[in-house]
Amino acid sequence: MIRAGIDAGSRSIKTVLFDTERKEILASGLADQGVEQERLAAELFARVLKEAGLGRSRISGVVATGYGRHAIGFADTTITEITCHARGVHWLAPSARTIIEIGGQDSKVISLEDGGRVRDFEMNDRCAAGTGRFLEMVAARLEMNWEKLSELGRQSRKPAIISNVCVVFAETEIIGLLAEGKPLPDVVAGVQNAIATRVSALAGRFIAPPVYFTGGVALLPGMARALEEALSCPIHVAPQPQFTGALGAALSDGA
């Protein structure tokens, strides 16, 4: 039996096809999010099916998660990203006790019990400072993509201190730092630290090792390091972190 999970995030849509008998991921794919969420998700789903050489009839169920889950009309059911990230990460790393997920427009800290059940969660969806949106703003301001941004961050020797917790005002600080001649890598690392500090404030009472980092922002190597420093504990980046939500959806009983 093959199940599909679709994670309709704020920046991108992710799809995972999961074989429940062989217990393996058969295929996955990612596309940019846009206004026509359902069409984009349907196109991605069709593309992933085609790449996997599967027909739609082979799929026994589709579960949608993520910010835009309710827009995915062809899904059989919807489940929140909290539950789906928990299921996805637990399948990939059964020992995980804490999940930090930094997405495009929110961040979450999820506390897991033995067996992968969610104990509790905390979520920031009111402030961009602890989300990928902050990095997007910096990347746009510096006219570079995320990969380049990450590379720059790694070159930092003395990260700048971004004191403002508001992204809008932090942008002013960044402009000021650059005008003062602060090296670009230090500014980027400063931004990563600012995000990590924000997330650590959210995570405070939940942190129990092992801590797994997931979501698209986890792909930036500097972010995991910044989180390790902010939380004073090792951070493991989940395998294919951008797909854990979609994987969790595919693993869900509702499919």
Partner: protein, 461 residues
């Protein structure tokens, strides 16, 4: 008329009301179709709510939404009107003890921006009066006082001071500065008696030193004197005792209603109507006798549904304990839409739900009831009661909803969450809900839905 429980939109209520009238529904003078509150009073939010379909719920909504008109009518009939601010349940008991006197709750204007979807501009007007969005939406009462158009100006304005929230103090002080004299009475911050101090038992299982009870009793005596002067009568113990008994009649009915709806395996009435019903405890929605009739109707409906095994919310719904009233009523609908139900509440005025002792001198009893206010004591007291009720009603999760700008205890939500997690280990979240939460609905829905998923996932297999 006893249709199966169902949620109705405003449009559906139009048809239902017509049908009920044809079937012989008898309504009080303030009755009528709910639609008129949109057309006449511009309460646009009603168009986005889902209502219970019972005649008892119709009466409740009409009672709530005609309060200002009923107050104007009472004024025209010669009744004295008392604005009882902040104490949430004590001064109204005293005011209603006197004939031809009504107390109302000007702070209740905090729901007006929600009901009118901010079309009244009260919050914006409050801003021009120096109270911006960093203050609680209660600031809406300021322009309501200044410009009229809502409640009538009271003959006497009474407000507690001291151990009350900073926001409210600032708003009430500004109100007085704008030319609305206030009779202030002191409310000390409740504390545990020191060793050697005489302790007094308070409603809700609390206690306070006798010196604090004496202080509040003296302050309420001063309030009672002012009320008596306004009425041209002496507010004596006989009248007060009668007033306490009548208030307890409301509280007993509410207790039965809460037990019938919250403690049962399934909810006989929806969360939204229960929220409004509980609010009647504060000042009887400006008509004590009618509030008893409204609550009796709701209780009879809930009991009838329970007997018929018909419920407003699925028995499978996750049992949520809800702390603090929501600024946007729509949030209560949302909880049930995503598979939750209320199994207990603490809407900040649990002291107005507890019975006032009838075996003590009336002012002493009222002082003890006032001191049991969850907002005048430590957050840990409030958290302990919440945990106790969560246990008693089998709560599977806890929601603490915050009101933007409200700051009576900035960290109280966190303290309650930590206490609940530690003591009963249920998932708990804090939500901020603005007066019109449409823009944040997606995020709100996700959080609530996640909580419901977790609660269900934790059920024994």
């Amino acid at each position: 008329m006893n249709a199966s429980p169902r949620k109705l939109t405003l449009d559906e209520w139009d048809d239902r009301h017509e049908q009920l009238r044809r079937d012989g529904l008898r309504e009080p003078t303030y009755g009528g179709p709910l639609r008129r509150h949109v057309v006449r009073d511009r309460n646009f939010r009603l168009q986005h709510l889902q209502f219970d379909n019972s005649p008892a719920a119709l009466r409740l909504w009409n009672f709530l939404l005609t309060e200002n008109q009923r107050l104007h009518q009472a004024r025209a009939n010669g009744d004295k009107l008392v604005g009882a601010m902040k104490d949430l349940g004590t001064v109204p008991v005293m005011a209603y003890s006197l004939p031809s006197m009504r107390a109302f709750y000007p702070d209740g204007a905090w729901w007006t921006p929600c009901l009118m979807e901010c079309g009244d501009m009260l919050l914006q007007q409050a801003e021009t009066m120096g109270l911006d969005s960093s203050f609680c939406p209660v600031r809406a009462m300021l322009p309501a006082f200044e410009h009229g158009g809502h409640f009538p100006r009271p003959d006497l304005l009474v407000c507690s001071a001291g151990a009350i929230c900073d926001d409210f103090s600032a708003i009430a002080q500004r109100l007085e500065h704008l030319g609305h004299p206030i009779l202030w009475w002191e409310m000390p911050r409740r504390r545990q008696p020191d060793s050697g101090e005489t302790a007094c038992a308070l409603p809700g299982g609390l206690s306070a030193p006798k010196i604090q009870v004496d202080c509040v009793r003296a302050e309420l005596g001063r309030v009672g004197q002012a009320l008596g002067e306004l009425a041209g009568k002496h507010l004596d113990d006989v009248w007060l005792a009668d007033g306490i008994r009548a208030a307890n009649r409301v509280r007993r009915t509410l207790e039965s209603l809460r037990r019938t709806v919250y403690a049962a395996p399934a909810a006989a009435l929806p969360a939204l109507e229960m929220l409004v019903a509980e609010m009647l405890a504060i000042h009887f929605c400006s008509d004590r006798e009618e509030s008893i009739a409204v609550l009796d109707g709701l209780l009879a409906e809930a009991q009838s549904r329970a007997r018929r095994n018909q419920f407003a919310v699925s028995a499978d719904a996750a049992r949520i304990f809800w702390v603090n009233p929501v600024a946007d009523l729509r949030a209560m609908n949302l909880l049930e839409e995503i598979g939750g139900r209320i199994c207990g509440t603490d809407y900040m005025f649990t002291h107005a739900l507890d019975l006032i002792p009838e075996d003590l001198p009336p002012l002493e009893a009222l002082a003890r009831a006032a001191l049991a206010d969850p907002m005048v004591g430590p957050a840990s007291d409030r958290a302990a009661r919440i945990v106790r009720e969560c246990r008693a009603n089998g709560a599977e999760a806890l929601v603490v909803s915050r009101i933007p700008g409200a700051s009576h205890c900035a960290r109280e939500g966190e303290i309650i969450l930590q206490f609940a997690r530690r003591e009963i280990g249920i998932p708990a979240i804090e939500l901020e809900i603005s007066p019109v939460c449409d823009a944040m609905r997606t995020g709100l829905r996700s959080r609530l839905q996640a909580l419901v998923e977790i609660a269900r996932d934790r059920r024994p297999a």
